[in-house]
Amino acid sequence: MEKELKYVDMVEQPIAMHPKKFALWLFLVTVVMIFAALTSAYIVRQSEGNWLEYDLPTIFWYSSGIVVISSICLQYAYSAAKKDNFVGLRAGLSLAVLFGIAFLVSQWYSWVALVDENVFFVGNPSGSFLYVFTGLHAVHLISGVIFLIIVLISTYRYKVHSKSMDTLEMATTFWHFLAALWLYLFMFLLLNH
């Protein structure tokens, strides 16, 4: 009976997506909704006037580059894992983590730049929104870095390879999503400033 159950579990859902991966996509939807709400709040509030104008920190250009590089590194790690190239996998993952941390540091410096411009978290909502966007995105990115580090550790136990890609695949999805989310936020700020 034991085997029977297992067998049935396998054949009954040949077309279905991996449930965990699917759940991750649904989680991404919730994150999208949070930022959709915040950015629409930004537009609604902006249209009401009394809106502080200031220059966006130029460091955002650099952080955008860093986050893209990080994504590319992870994509490299992903394709390396597919070929069971463990050196490439670890190198790519480590670089992705490092660039992820570099991104967080550059975001911190964007806050420093804002403070130098006399734009504070407390004050006109125009500035506060920027802190909320970057801060909330950074919180998500930190969770992504932690996720990547966990995957990195598991590569040393040879748990990630061409036959066991699920975790890495989910980490990659999440990481690319966070990069895309930042690019969206940055573009949104460029266009609505």
């Binding site: 067998y7 049935v8 859902q13 997506m17 759940a23 649904l26 989680f27």
Partner: protein, 627 residues
């Protein structure tokens, strides 16, 4: 989070394969079994319904009997009853706030969706359990934690949150505004954050399970309407709860960090606050973007349950199965584009108001389709009046009478008069509150045999139904008149207004009716807990129903079906099919087994079906050989 659930994935799989030995903690407390989690949700929901109901009785006493000496309540309320035996006015505000929050979120969202989505989704689609048992458990315990925090806030010295369940700033944002905006409001926000996380985890699980874990043959066009409703409810929750989170986050920043998202140009005691540039209407937009879909999060599961119960107990196929699904989809989509009808008098652009009015009135179309289909399903059916059936019919009644007043309120011009009056209170308590509550009760009566293997007492069920049904109308119908007369909601007392005096007796009547209706719920509670242990033993399929959950053992164990999961060959509403031997044909009966009742197009499908069965046979054979 992701890694934790990944690690758990393997463990959950092992579970099915052997008789495993639960201890008390893993079976009843940190259970990962969807049926136990559903029962946890149900009992917690019942606890909160009692608290929420009790709070409403307290403020009804104040409204119905403003001169009353409430000293006898001092053992519970302590300092909130003053020397003269009067209820503290600020605590009155806290009572209405907590009543709303508890009923909307803890009872009708967690108690309803949490219970029935968890219980029925795996059983009715033919799955062993939810996609992630661990996340499901986490969802319940986050809800529990949220409840604990909200419960603690009831006992604060400054009282719980008191700005209304919508917690509009600036009232909720400034501690100086009312006592309830202090620590009580902070705890409210913390509790709601946990609640949002819990709902999202539950919702992600429901959607994943429905999409990925359906049994063989269970296509979306063969899904019971309950599952359609739970599925779309989860979709609505997934899209709207994050927005509430965003709104609450900005409110937290305003409250605790000094930002000005919602605050601007406020003077307290003649002194200006430093906040400038915020917009309180912004909060309303964000809040109602959740708040309106929330109404459907509460209502859709109840409508799904009703569809199932009414079809089963009319012994007729549900009328317009596809129309039911399309109207559910229509409601889902429309629920996101009508939020501003809650804000007609917020100073919004009147042109925008007329757009939202138009969109709002469109919702009447799918709602009317549903009502029509319920009535036509009942029409000339062989009605069996089980308590669940009565409560479902009660739901349809409330949905009609409460829905009609929605058409009034949806008009931006009439809303100027009716906004924030008891007319609104009457409207949503009928169409959303009582209707959903009746759906929940109907679900409990209907699926109690599956939950506990015993039947609830029908006679007590009838008494419970009639007192509650008549009681609800006695409570909420008079409120329409009070509302049209212009009585604002959330007011502690009207005795200062001359025009209000003529309605004192009506308010007294409402309060008495409310007390009677509330007391009748104890009949249900007694019935519930008594039947759990002493009820008549249930048979395999007590309601002679078609859906998959009745093919499980009377008390299904972990994994639901002892052997293979049955395959599904037909839709779930083959009741009283002409030519058939019995008046119901379960979903697991192949079309090829019922040539006498097949319709012409179904005869065609038999060929396809035989192919599927042949495939299955091969699977079985290969199973045998692999043993």
């Amino acid at each position: 989070m992701s890694t934790a659930s990944v690690a758990n994935h393997d463990a959950a799989h092992d579970h099915h394969d052997h008789e495993h030995h639960d201890n008390f903690v893993t079976k009843y407390i940190f259970s990962q079994d969807h049926k136990m989690i559903a029962k946890q949700y149900l009992v917690t929901g019942m606890f909160w319904a009692l608290i929420g109901g009790l709070l409403s009785i307290l403020f009804r006493l104040q409204l119905g009997f403003p001169e009353m000496d409430m000293s006898f309540l001092r053992p519970i309320l302590g300092g909130w009853i003053d020397e003269a035996g009067k209820l503290d006015p600020t605590f009155y505000l806290a009572l209405v706030t907590m009543h709303g929050t508890i009923m909307v979120f803890f009872v009708l969202t967690a108690g309803l969706s949490g219970t029935f989505s968890n219980f029925l989704i795996p059983l009715q689609i033919g799955a062993r359990d939810m996609a992630s048992g661990f996340m499901n458990m986490l969802s319940y315990w986050l809800f529990f934690l949220s409840g604990v925090i909200m419960f603690i806030s009831l006992f604060l010295k400054t009282g719980p949150a008191a700005g209304g369940w919508v917690v509009y700033p600036p009232l909720s944002a400034l501690e100086q505004a009312i006592p309830g905006s202090g620590l009580g409001m902070t705890l409210w926000l913390v509790a709601m954050t946990f609640f949002i996380a819990s709902s999202l985890m539950g919702g992600i699980n429901y959607i994943t399970t429905v999409i990925n874990l359906r049994t063989k043959g269970m296509s979306f066009s063969k899904l019971p309407l309950t599952i359609w409703a739970f599925f779309l409810t989860a979709v609505i929750g997934l899209l709207s709860f994050p927005v509430l989170f965003a709104a609450a986050l900005l409110l937290v920043f305003d409250r605790s960090f000094g930002t000005s998202f919602y605050l601007s140009d406020i003077y307290i005691g003649g002194e200006a606050l430093p906040n400038t540039g915020g917009s309180p209407v912004l909060y309303q937009h964000l809040f109602w973007f959740l708040g309106h879909p929330e109404v459907y999060i509460v209502l859709l599961p109840a409508l799904g349950i009703t569809s199932e119960v009414i079809a089963t107990n009319s012994r007729k196929p549900i009328f317009g199965y596809k129309a039911m699904i399309i109207s559910l989809l229509g409601i889902t989509v429309l629920s996101f584009v009508v939020w501003a009808h809650h804000m007609f008098v917020s100073g919004m652009n009147p042109f925008l108001g007329s757009i939202f009015m138009f969109l709002t009135l469109i919702i009447a179309v799918p709602s009317a389709v549903k009502v029509f289909n319920y009535l036509t399903t009942l029409w000339r059916g062989n009605l069996i009046f089980t308590p669940a059936m009565l409560f479902s019919i009660g739901l349809v009644s409330f949905f009609i009478s409460g829905g009609l007043t929605g058409i009034f309120l949806g008009n931006s011009a009439i809303d100027i008069q009716l906004h924030d009056t008891y007319f609104v209170v009457a409207h949503f308590h009928l169409v959303m509150g009582s209707a959903s509550f009746f759906g929940m009760i109907a679900g409990v009566y209907h699926w109690f045999p599956k939950m506990f293997g015993r039947m609830m007492d029908a006679k007590l069920g009838y008494i419970h139904f009639w007192i509650t049904f008549v009681g609800v109308y006695m409570v909420f119908f008079p409120m329409h008149y009070i509302g049209i007369a212009g009585f604002p909601r959330r007011y502690y007392s009207w005795t200062n207004f001359e025009f209000a005096n003529m309605y004192t007796d009506l308010n007294m009547f409402v309060s008495v009716a409310a007390i009677i209706t509330f007391s009748a719920q104890f009949i249900f509670l007694f019935n519930f807990f008594y039947s759990m242990y002493k009820g008549r033993k249930a048979t395999l399929n007590p309601w002679r129903s078609n859906t998959l959950e009745w093919t499980t053992p009377v008390e299904p164990g972990h994994g639901n079906w002892p052997g293979e999961i049955p395959a599904v060959y037909r839709w779930p509403y083959d009741y009283s099919k002409p030519g058939a031997e019995e008046d119901f044909i379960p979903q697991t009966v192949p079309l090829s087994a019922t040539p006498e009742s097949n319709l012409p197009h179904e005869q065609e499908l038999v060929k396809v079906e035989l192919e599927i069965m042949k495939e299955e046979e091969e699977v079985l054979v290969s199973n045998e050989t692999s043993h």
